[in-house]
Structure formats: C-alpha cells, structure tokens
Point group: C2
Chain length 532, copies 2
C-alpha cells in the first residue's frame, strides 16, 4: 500500500474511533441501520479522483437522513460525543474533492434521501427544496408540474442544487449571475436547533423565499462555503421561460484575440445586452468535452504544442477561444441584441459567429449539450472532460482564480497560467465563467490518470504552486479544492488575515465544539487551529 | 420640560459620564477639537422628528473623523474606556430615527468629513467611496469625471450612500434591485483593526469591488443593518448610461385596481420587461409630495374621507394608485417593452398610461423630480412629504413590512393598514417599493406635527400597535425605526428567536465589550440584553 504524499494536508479527528462507532450506532437506532453506511460507503463517498491507496480524507461512516428532524438528532448525537460531521448534498463536487470530508474519522451527512421538491410556486417563480435534490430532479419536477419555469443549471446535472450552491457553484442561466438562485434557508445549528434566514425568521412570514435580506444583519451568505450550520431546506428562484432563447457561439482565432473578446463582452454585459453567465473556453477545453487527449494528439509525453492546438481547433471547427452565451427574451428583443452582438464581436478580425433561436418545445432536444445547459436542461454529456488523461480512470482538479473582466488582465492571467501548466508538462485547459458584469472565475483543469500515482502527485504539486504563486500576484480562488482549502485561504492575508480571524471568531461562537465541517474553506474551530 | 413618553424604550449607557468625556478628550487630541462636538451638536445629530423636550436617544458627543486610521483610533479609545459608539453616514435616516443613537450617553461617529470619492473606474463601472459621500456628491463626482455612468439614487439625495445602503435603504435604478449597489467593504472591527470583505481580504487583489463573495463564508451582508464593525470604504457599482430612459406613469382609478396592477407588474418583472425598482404610490402619498394636508383638505380633525381622496386624485390628475417605473435601454428595445406595458396594463379598466423617452442630455432638467430620481439625478424635492401635518414642523415615521408581490396579498395588506390608520385618526399614505421580482417593501408613513407632543406620542402608539399586529399575521419590517427596533426584531420569533440568538452570539464574539452600535435593529451585546 502506498502512503499519502506529503503534499496532502490530511487531518484526522482527535477522537477515539470507538466513540465515533457509538455515535453511529445511536444514529442507526434513529435512522434505521440501512441509512448508516460504514466507512466511506464502499468508496462511494470519497474523492473519486484520488488514488484509493492514499487513504486521505476518509469518513468513519456516512448517514443518510430523511427529514430535518433527523438531521437535528444527528447533530445532537454528534455534539454529545464531540464527533465532527461533514455535510454535503448528493456528494458530487468532483474536481474539488468529491464526497470526501476535510477531516478523516468523522461522520459524513449525505442528503441523497432528502431529495424532495416541497413546493413549486409558478406565480411567484420559486420552489422550496431539500438539500439533496439534484438539478436533474428539480428540472423534472418543474416539467412534471407543467410550470412555465426554468432552473439555472451547471454543466453536469447529477449534483444537488443545494450542495452546488453552498459551494458557490456556478450555473449559467440569468439567475446564475451573482448567485441569485437561492433565497431563504432552513438550517440546523450546532446545538441541533432549527433556524430560518431572512423573513423566514418570522413564523408564518410568506416572504421567506421572496425577499433576500433580514431585519438586522443578513446571515444567509454565511452558510455558503461556511461551516456554521447544516442546511435542510432551500428556496430556489425559478425564471419564467422566455419566448425564445438565442444561443450564440463566437470563435476567435488567435490567443491574443481574447483581449477584444473580453472587452466586447464586458461592454455588452454592462449595458444589459447580454444577461446570464457566458463562458469562454479554450481549444483544449472544448476538445476535452469531445474525446480524451489520445484522440487528438498521439505523443503521450510533453504538452500539446501550439501548432497541434491550431490543428485541433481546425478539426473541431473552432478557434483558440470560444465564447458561448445565450439571450433570453421576446423574439424582437433577441433579434435586436443579436444584431448588436454580431456587429460588435464581428469587429474582431476573423471572428466567427454562429447563432440559433429556439422556442421551449425545442430545448430538451438541442443537439449541443452546452446549448441544452443554457436552456436549463441538465445533462451529463461533459463528463468526458475528466478523462483527458486516463479515460475512465481520468481525474481532474480545478484551479479557480477570480479576475477583473478586462481583456488585458484576463489575457495576461491566461498566458501566466499557460506558461506554468506547460512548464509542468500539463496541457492548459481554460473555462472562463463570466459570473457577473465585472469579473470572471477562471477555471483551469489539472488532469491526470488516477492509476498513475506519480502523475497524480505531480498534479497536486502543480496545484499547490499555482495557488501560492497566484496569491502572490493578487489572484485568489472563488472556491478551493478540498486538499488546498487551507493554502487558498492562507492567500487572503490582508490585515494579518483579518477576514479569517473574524470568521473563526464566529465559528467558535456558533459552534464552540467545532463539530460542523471543520476546516471547510480553511476555517477551523479553536481546537484545530494548531499554532494559529 | 416634558418627560419622555413610556412608549419610547430609551436606554442610557451604563457608564460614568466623566469617563465618556475623558474618551472625547482623547479623541479631540487626535482629531482636533473642532471635530468633536459636544452633546448632539446643538441638535444637529438628533432625531429631527422628535419633540426636543423628550430628550430620548442623545449622544454625549459627536466625532467627525477624516481618515480610516482615525476611525481605528476612535474605536480603540472607545474600547479602552468601554464607551458605546454609534456610526452613521451623513446622519440623515429621517423617518427612521434620524441621526440619533439607540443608546444615550455614548459617542456618535459622523462621517460628513469622510466624503471623498476615492476612485471612479469607467471601464469596469464602479467607484470606491468613503462612508460620508452623499448621493448628490457621488453624482457630481461622476459627472465631473465625464464618466458615462449613473448612480442608483433614493428619493432624497442628501443622505450618504454608505449610510443609506448600510440600513438596506432603497434606491430606484436597476442596481437598486436587491441591493446590487455595494461590492466590497473596508471595516474597522471592535478591536480597532482593519478588515476587507470578499476578494479584498487578499492584499492587492483587483477584484475587491468586482466580485461579490468571499473564499469561505461571505460576511459582507453582516455589515448591513449590523453592528459588527464600522465601515470606512465602500465599493459602489455604477451602471453605464443607457441610450434612452423611458419614464412610465400608470394610474388606476379604484382601490381594488391595485390587484391587477400588482399582478401585471409582477409578470412583467419576472419576464424581464421591467427592471429597476418601480413604486406604487397612493393618492395621499402623491399629494404629500406636492403640498401639506391643509392645501388639500380643510378640516383638521378626522381622516380624509374616501370621497375627498377621489377629489384630490381628480385635482392632481391621478388615480387611487399610481405606478412609476422606468425602462433603461436601446431605443428599439424600450419601444418594444413600452408597447407590451401599454398592452398589458391597458387591460385594467380606466387605466391611464403616460410615458416619455429621453436621452442623457435631458435627464438633469426633467420637470418631475421623481423622473429625475429614476434618471439617477438626486434632488430634494420630496422633502415636502414630511410636512403633511405641521408644515416645516412636520415629522413622520415609516412602517415598512415586506409583502409577496401578488395583487391579492398586497391589496389585503393595504386595506388592513388603511383600516388601522383611519381607526387611529391618521391618513393612510402608501409607498410600495418593488425591490425585486417577487416582493415589495410597503412603506406607510405616520405623520404628525412635532410641536404637538400629544399627537406625536399618539403616532408612536400607532406604530407600536402596527409592528406588533402585523407581526401577528406574518408581516415583518425590512427596516425598523430606531424606537421600534426591539419590537420589530421581537416579531421574528421562529425557533424561539433562533435568528436573534445566532446573531447575538456573533455579536458577543466579534465585539465582546459590546461597544459598536449596541441595539441596532434589536441586536444587543450580552451585557445589555437584560433578562433575555
């Protein structure tokens, strides 16, 4: 058996395993034995992209509650025994650590059985859901209800909306912009009590899922990327289906064409021509959604050189950068906005612009899976991406700095990343997700064959270097991979880490035992902060 | 001298006044004596709508710092002496308690001298401002810079943008929707340290004012209606000026026409036809913006009866309800959306629709002050409102429940309010501010002549009754008047006040001495919670 490479900052709960088993037994008495899985559930609730031999980040057991009351009981039992719990949704989060917990030896709360859509309100455009409801399930429930509403979905539809959103996960429709998806949470706090955010803090208040703030300080965003409670219900805003969607794909030929591409996009986002969450993908990212690396380039060693990238672009019929976006609206408005898009982006030399306008009845059958995503139809087609190296045994990790939405800065960051990827023998894939009118999340994927322990460890080493070096030049991640949460958080050092110290004070106050998801995004309870 | 009526829950800081004076003297040594005003600054920093004789809510002194460093020093001195401080912007907040602090005998930090616009970035559409910058000053700075940008402004332009936004104050342009105005805060914490939110937690990160979340839990909304820090810088998003603005005014004749008015508005908001923050005003609210009550109705006693309201509406040329909104966009898009608005609202019997489309060069000169507001041009014209009773000695308080955006619910709430206002001898004014696609803030003004102590006290009694009774039927305020913060917060009792208890745990953790704005929106430090 291999040992865990020292690149991985594993933490094991400082608790007698017999105590954890006693807690699991008490939970089984409440949930039923079939809802308590030993260990990581036969590998189901671990990071699927980590070599099994490493054994880092392993739960002692997984519990699958059915109701919020059961979650309260689970948390109370965990508190009584001092056992850390790690809450998740479906347990996907692939590329960021999957279903694995930050601290080994604790108990994972998995919400696959709490997957009910409790309410769909077509008039006011929202749903109330449980934390395990997948995007696919919510989509199906909305369609089955015949509601003229659509869900903002990510590239892969199998994950839970609650889990995704609590990680600040990105989705692509207009409500994905600056995370307008969620409004109103029900949360189990560390003492096992129930709390509701916003207007929901008043019993019987009908604006819980309609109004975004509290009377008094707004605490809802504390529960996203936080570890102050376990979310048991979420309000989800759903957008009415527009008359038509116009799917737009724009290709530019040269790397440096990214500059006018981004600047034009920013102008048309700021002036309201383009809503939602456009993406800019590079050639190799697009290639990875179609087939593994070997399909495109024969030599296994070395990075794919620029000439070969151009050939791949040619084969696919794209450019060095590909912008995808969608317009949602009345047909004449979309036509006006499309003409503006064609005029403005058309000014970039050699730019190619494709578009298609479709109505609701066509969306589920759109041939391009990414067009289906922009039409709110979840799918799994892009799982291919993970197999860039290793095929079915392929894995990936994402490095995700936030950048200002100006052509020059985005271009410089991409060239900086490309140089570092290639220096380390990695192909540079880029997925620039334009989350609002002023910034984007730059997702760069480190891919490896998980059967190749050495290559995987190398990937981890590159990630560590990227997080640290980007931090040194003022770029921070929007979301961190489980194994690099501490390092990513460490980069946010303004005022001698004033942010982290402030948040950890909150942590100690609302969860004094430190049992809820300790270490999530670099926030630790007092007992686990070590020297800090 | 009168005594403070028992309706007012006054709190005096439990501290030797000599100690407060010693703290003020230390602050004067740093700021200069001219920046430390004794008492409430000759009445400048009290609630202007409260009879002077009541003497409730009075500061022992007002300090006016010039820099964030001075704010740090002020907070450190206050902490050393255990003196509570109350932070504000310009010190307006009229209708919600004005410049007065919740706790008497402490020190008010007023930001009128920190009114610098530090940066305007036209390309990315934002500014970085100090907390005392008024809407008027920001507007002038943007115009002076020649930047093609506009500020989302409220009805009155004299208040500070920072103070207004930290109270969740409402503004009317598209960035006023769900408070998209602010992105990125610098905050002095209770121990006198500097903290920056979001990406600003990383020194040198260029996305501080561009990206809305943190890596880790997002804490920025804690500082709105909160008392966990003193904000010293704010990032403000500015929208590019559109090609044209189309101002739309819609009148409906009968009270019950509010039902289709709201339902039509909701549909056109949800489908994206109407952006920004529309308002629905009743006849008497509109009348109050034009002239005091005596101008419209002769008898001083009793409420204005329905027949007289219809006559007033006739005189002004409006209906029972008046909807104002604006469209921002390219001319053909506005034309398309206006036609849709005319068609949909035109289906309401007797509805009258006026509209006008103007370009940027016309906005500063628009004759209707409310059209200027929707064009981002701040003004003071509506100060008339406060003089409904008492003219220049008129005062008002606002009661502001949040309601779901459905015609039936909004209508029922308004009739419920009207009955309670009239039962108490008050005219019912209504200003329904449609803050997003699914809810509105219903602002009802209680007006009185502040020279008439008995009438003013009656107004306070009505407010108390409204907060309590509305809470009983599931309606909570979005923002509370200083004197009713505890009562308004008390209504949010879900889970045995789980929200307030959670927030007060945070309060005790980040401000263990309880010196920062104690009691703001009903959140108190441990030492001042009394029996709770």
């Amino acid at each position: 058996m291999s040992t865990t490479p020292d690149i991985i900052p594993a933490v094991v709960a400082d608790i007698d395993p017999a105590v954890v088993q006693a807690a699991l037994a008490e939970m089984a008495a409440i949930l039923g034995q079939d809802r308590v899985l030993p260990g990581d559930g036969d590998g189901e609730f671990r990071d699927p992209y980590q070599p099994v031999e490493w054994l880092a980040f392993a739960a002692a057991g997984v519990v699958q509650p059915d109701t919020a009351e059961q979650v309260q009981q689970i948390v109370r039992i965990a508190a009584a025994h001092g056992v850390p719990v790690w809450a998740q949704g479906q347990g996907r989060n692939n590329g960021y650590g999957g279903a694995a917990p930050r601290v080994s030896g604790g108990i994972t709360i998995n919400f696959r059985r709490m997957n009910r859509v409790l309410e769909i309100d077509e008039e006011l455009g929202y749903a109330l859901i449980e934390p395990g409801v997948s995007f696919q399930e919510l989509y199906e429930a909305v369609e089955a209800a015949g509601a003229n509403l659509m869900v903002s979905v990510p590239d892969l539809g199998w994950g839970s909306m609650g889990g995704n959103q609590q990680d600040n996960g990105l989705t692509y429709l207009p409500y994905g912009k600056d995370w307008r998806n969620i409004c109103g949470l029900e949360v189990v706090t560390a003492d096992g009590e129930l709390l509701r955010t916003g207007m929901g803090a008043m019993a019987g208040n009908q604006s819980w899922n309609l109004y975004r703030r509290s009377l008094g300080p707004t605490i809802e965003p504390l529960f996203f990327q936080g570890n102050f409670g376990v979310v048991t219900k979420l309000g989800v805003w759903l957008m009415p289906k527009p008359e038509v969607i116009t799917h737009v794909h724009i290709d530019v030929k040269r790397d440096e064409d990214l500059i006018p591409l981004v600047d034009t996009l920013r102008r048309l986002r700021l002036d309201g021509t383009i809503d939602g969450v456009p993406c800019i993908l590079n050639t190799l990212l697009i290639a990875s959604t179609i087939a593994p690396r070997a399909h495109w380039y024969e030599p296994e060693e070395g990075v794919i050189p620029d000439e070969a990238i151009d050939e791949i672009a040619e084969r696919i019929g794209i450019g060095r950068w590909h912008l995808r976006l969608a317009l949602y609206g009345d047909r004449p408005v979309n036509e006006h906005n499309l003409a503006k898009i064609e005029r403005e982006f058309g000014a970039i030399p050699d730019a190619r612009i494709r578009s298609a306008t479709t109505g609701p009845e066509e969306w589920a059958e759109l041939p391009d899976p990414s067009d289906r995503v922009y039409a709110g139809v979840p799918n799994q087609d892009w799982t291919t991406m993970a197999g860039w190296r290793g095929g079915e045994h392929g894995g990936h990790m994402s490095f995700t700095p936030v950048a200002p939405l100006t052509g020059r800065k985005v271009y410089e960051l991409q060239m900086w990343l490309k140089a570092r990827f290639e220096r380390n023998g990695l192909d540079h894939t880029a997925d620039l997700i334009v989350v609002n009118e002023r910034s984007l999340c730059s997702v760069a994927g480190i891919t490896f064959d998980i059967d190749d322990e050495e290559a995987t460890a190398d990937g981890y080493r590159v990630m560590q270097e990227l997080v640290r070096e980007a931090g040194g030049i003022g770029y921070g991640e929007y979301r961190a991979h489980l194994h690099f949460m501490d390092l990513a958080q460490e980069q946010f050092g303004f005022g001698d880490h004033a942010y982290r110290r402030f948040v950890e004070r909150i942590k100690d106050a609302v969860d004094p035992q430190g049992i809820l998801s300790p270490g999530r995004h670099g926030i630790w309870p007092a007992a686990m902060r070590g020297g800090r």
